[in-house]
Subunit: 273 residues, 6 copies
């Protein structure tokens, strides 16, 4: 539950919440613990991507984003306000709650969105489109095609492509990819990627399905398959992601992550071509 | 078989051929008869649509368009050249074949494309994207979103959308739609639309699935379905299409076309809301 | 009162109503007679102008445009539908009201706007901005600066410019101007322009304040003045306006309109410069 | 008095002078002391803003910017040239004046502008436009709406808005604001902002009229008022402004600046709504 | 000599004069006869082309365009004003000269340009750039690359390209070309194109050097050559040019124009490739 | 010889080779030593510049860029891979060659270009265009006109400009210029610039022909001259170039470089104007 200057936003698992730069808010946990992923955006505001030939509807629809109505606190008590400015945290004290906005008008407001409403679009013939087709929100940069940050989601969906290796391709690329798994299983990793975990592939670091996934996908019959128990996401950004000291030292770090690809075998025989 | 100034293009059913304005050509039938659809484009050159979030590949891929190599005739015999200029046909005689180009370089060349290579993309969750998602080639106008002519194709594909009426919606719109059926059956008309036929819905003329299609689609179980035996296309243009005198007088004109919607019933009961 | 497919819009004097191309509607007069001005727009949809340095608010504010909720008729009776297509009127009969839309979603909807909410902006120092500063809605063309049609309004406002002839300038220009007066008096015509009337100045036809207005404005003390009893508007378009036969033959046509400028005198003496 | 490579520019209080990057110049004081404000622009060249609906004239008019004619020194004496390069100052000696340009042609020249010629435009009905309406010159960034630096001026002007709190609003925003007062009084601060002073409100730091100004403006009769004795300006920039050590330690620093808002009272009674 | 509302422009052979739409003018011949070419532009104003990699100077330089100062007539005598409106000529009588403008400010003014000042740029290595490299002024259309009208000039210049057929290529193209010869000889026609004459090649009509020019250019030694006695021009437009009845019936019409290419011979021997 | 993941590229003197970011390659010298210039591009991909009025061909033509076909190594031996990431070099070991790509499709591939194929365009009348007219490839920035890096070449070419000082002008400018000489002599430096050398003129550092070049060019007869024995190039970039410690300490550094301009004399006599 976020109590913001613009009102209250209650967020459940599978929903995302965007709070604009400079907006004051307080987080209230409904249970003893809550976990989630956070992205701090230093660039342009997140917005819906242009849809191009997808047309007038599709992907995340504007009507499904929800903005709160004003909800004020009339509390003349001591408060502490913490803000981040130029990369450092600052603290101020006031004698009343800053969440005292009685009414508001405008468009610079926080919002939430339920990822289950994402209208996922993909190949219904063959091949495997770019992950940009999973874009929920984009923070563009001044260079078209090089987003400050794309927020991309891999939701429950049908897989029907024929004559195609259905999991994500092996690739390396200019953008930096931070992935997380919200629920279920991710279709490029047969094991080792659990809900609440994250993976990181920086600029030009090659990656793709693990050996077990590759074997299974290469030999599977290509019937329509509903990926049902899954909800993964990616922050794809032009900035190289640098793990914190905590992340590098945690016992949960998978030092053997690269081994998931070691089992991949050579299939091409130069003598036979 | 088209013999153009740039070389020879052999076209089979299911393929399209684009010959640029001003390029001389001769058509040679391989059988006694051949039938097809022709669109004369008065506007910008056809090009691939921008793909937006679809990314770097998808829909019609550039690599699948084929351009001929030069093929010249060294024929010093009388020839007749017919050209259209300012809406009228003109004829000239020469003493040698104009198809005498020995080599060429450039990009203003005719090409062909096999519609079976179209990477069709669509909803893999729910809902029904705009027909723009079927765009093969577009001749844009100076107004974004208002094409001079979009060439759109409805190829064999999987239908998997849940909680959705799968056939095209009922709609009326600003653009003018000319459809043809190349092979099989079109999924919005249970009957009456045969290969070689065409339908025309001009600006703001309402249309959609016929009553039989609607009934069937409303009650069908929404399993994955492969539409296999189908290949329909549409020219969607900002210009109102005007049938010729021949078209209006032919015995094949379906005077009762509007009746396909007469069986649609009222399902909403205002007293019950 | 407009009953449209999207719902009912009740319009009073001083309000405007925009109905999109292709939307069916019925007009119901609340009194025995009603008068107004109509503009049929063949080009791009009317939209708010970009505000440039005016910033995030000003002129007509988006929040003041009102769109109806659905309002359906469940009437199984004979109806006549008249539509304009390719410059001609066509008529169809149906056995039920077409205004039977039970609910709708989208943005191609009719709307109304009360001109009293126009936030008029102008010089607060000296000089006289272009009439574009009075733009309520614009239908742009593909040429920036050459609108298909600008709808411009001259509402009640303060006049405070110093060292300035405050009425509109004498000018001739590329655009074609059709003006009407909704209420009160227009500040460039001391007499002869009455509510319900209209004036027309086509491409490169010079015009400006009449002689009486000029004399008065040249000698007036430049105190702040509130123009209160006035509401004039202009359709400014790149298309030359052609009056109908009726307009050219009506007894109300002001054949002596050009005489309003005949009293303007020469004030420059070449011998004295 | 600036003696530049392009000629001499004499600047009086109320005028601004822009010298392009890399142009050599010498400042000659006409009195013993002179004071002013300096902005060093690291980004795009300052230019006039696009005027949008304001039209073809308004704000600062191009014709009022004055560029010098060439004025050379034929001085074979030792000279010292100081330049800033990569954030540091460098010094060179020459045996002749570098201000020896005999004639020039081009558009990369220094210029001056008299702020009294600014055609200020504002509301003549109600409300309070954004400060962008006061823009004299803008150095845009690659992000539309996020200037590298806007130079904005608050000159003598009429205030006529009805039903409006006329001083600048209370706000916090993404841009960083550095203000100075050239002459008279600034309408958002009843006291404490003197000519030659400056105020600074960085990114997301809330600010607005002081308590005294607010009280007065809330209860004043809204007659036309001429703000005559005033000339304030603002550099509005996307870069956070960092005061120098000198500025933070000067005795003139107003440590109690924030107290100007402490007198603002709560006016909303939640029990009465 | 043009006496316009903006002042007097005296034009000599080799100069061009542009008078904006709607500006009143009177032509005064200095000799008994004068001849020239006229282009009536229905589209966007002529402007200098963007120079692309040519940089900040080149082709026609802005500084060489000359605009008159005001020159008024104080003549209280009867005058006749003729104007063209909607394709027809209209006449009005006034009792004083309309060329009575005492001073003016703005940028919608007539101007002249001496074609001898054109900085012609071309290949200094090999090959033959497009005629767009000779553009003096362009009236663009809403379609980039498809000008409403380009005014192109072929002035005295050096020809130095190696391994190249130096005259204009054989080509046919989408644009329509109207050429005239102001002085000397045109390098694609050895004979038959005289000063004061004109040639016309409409959309997709093939053309190029005549047979004599081709023979000479194919065998010439490729030394640097100064084309000195020449000044040809072209109006290149997207609109098909239609000759008047007078032009089609004049005795000067070259009915045998096409014969200039009849002498071109086949040089390729398919048996030898 | 570059062996890249995309295949082998053999480069000879006078050719350039571009390898995209992230592509693995190995350099194999064909002789014992090889020398060349390297530019590491941190910004947008190099591409051909827009040609503006130069038209559809010219400067470097797309058809002359050569891309390799796949060439794989099937080598199961230890390999060391070195890559640069975030400004530092990293090393990895593998048990097989990474240059094992069997086939590829796409456009992110390395290429080479022979500078002798550059179609150099320049003045054929008078004056001296900007060096942008020599652009082979450009890596644009988000600011039009301010390239991340332009690669510019001064190849063999004809010089024919009349009434013009033919060597490059004296200038200082915003961009930073790094020049090298591949072969022969550079036309702005009579001596001291040798093949394999380089010169560097950073932002706003004035430069131009040396005194000897100036004297010679000022008095030379302006006949057509073929610059034959020359091939110089420039990296023109918005980033200030900083020499390495090695470069500043090498014995080859020309400490007296600035003296090449010391001999330039004053030619203007203020008393005589």
């Amino acid at each position: 539950m976020f109590h913001t200057e613009f009102g209250r936003i209650s967020v459940t698992p599978g929903e995302i919440c965007v709070i604009q730069r400079g907006v004051k808010f307080r987080v209230e946990l409904l249970d003893e613990r809550a976990r989630g992923y956070i992205c701090e955006n230093y660039g342009a505001l997140f917005r819906l991507p242009d849809l191009g030939p997808i047309g007038a509807n599709g992907l995340a629809n504007a009507r499904d984003f929800e903005t709160p109505v004003a909800a004020f606190e009339d509390a003349d008590e001591p408060w502490r306000i913490v803000s981040k400015f130029q990369g450092q945290l600052w603290e101020a004290e006031t004698d009343h709650s800053p969440l005292d906005v009685v009414a508001w008008h405008g468009n610079y407001a926080p919002y939430k969105y339920d990822l289950a409403r994402f209208n996922c679009i993909n190949s219904v013939t063959f091949d495997h489109p770019d992950p940009s087709i999973y874009t929920v929100l984009t923070s563009p940069s001044e260079l078209p095609g090089t987003a400050n940050c794309d927020f991309v989601v891999f939701p429950p969906r049908w897989m029907v492509a024929q004559q195609t290796l259905r999991p994500p391709w092996f690739h390396r690329n200019f953008m930096n990819e931070f992935m997380g798994l919200i629920r279920g299983q991710y279709d490029a990793k047969a094991e080792g990627f659990v809900p609440g975990g994250c993976s990181m592939h920086n600029c030009m670091a090659g990656h793709g399905p693990d050996a077990a996934t590759y074997e299974k996908a290469s030999t599977a019959e290509l019937k329509p398959v509903k990926l049902d128990d899954t909800l993964a996401f990616m922050f794809e950004t032009r900035f190289v992601c640098k793990p914190t000291k905590w992340a590098l030292e945690t016992a949960d770090l998978q030092h053997d992550y690269y081994e998931c690809w070691q089992g991949l075998k050579k299939h091409f025989d130069p003598k036979k071509r």
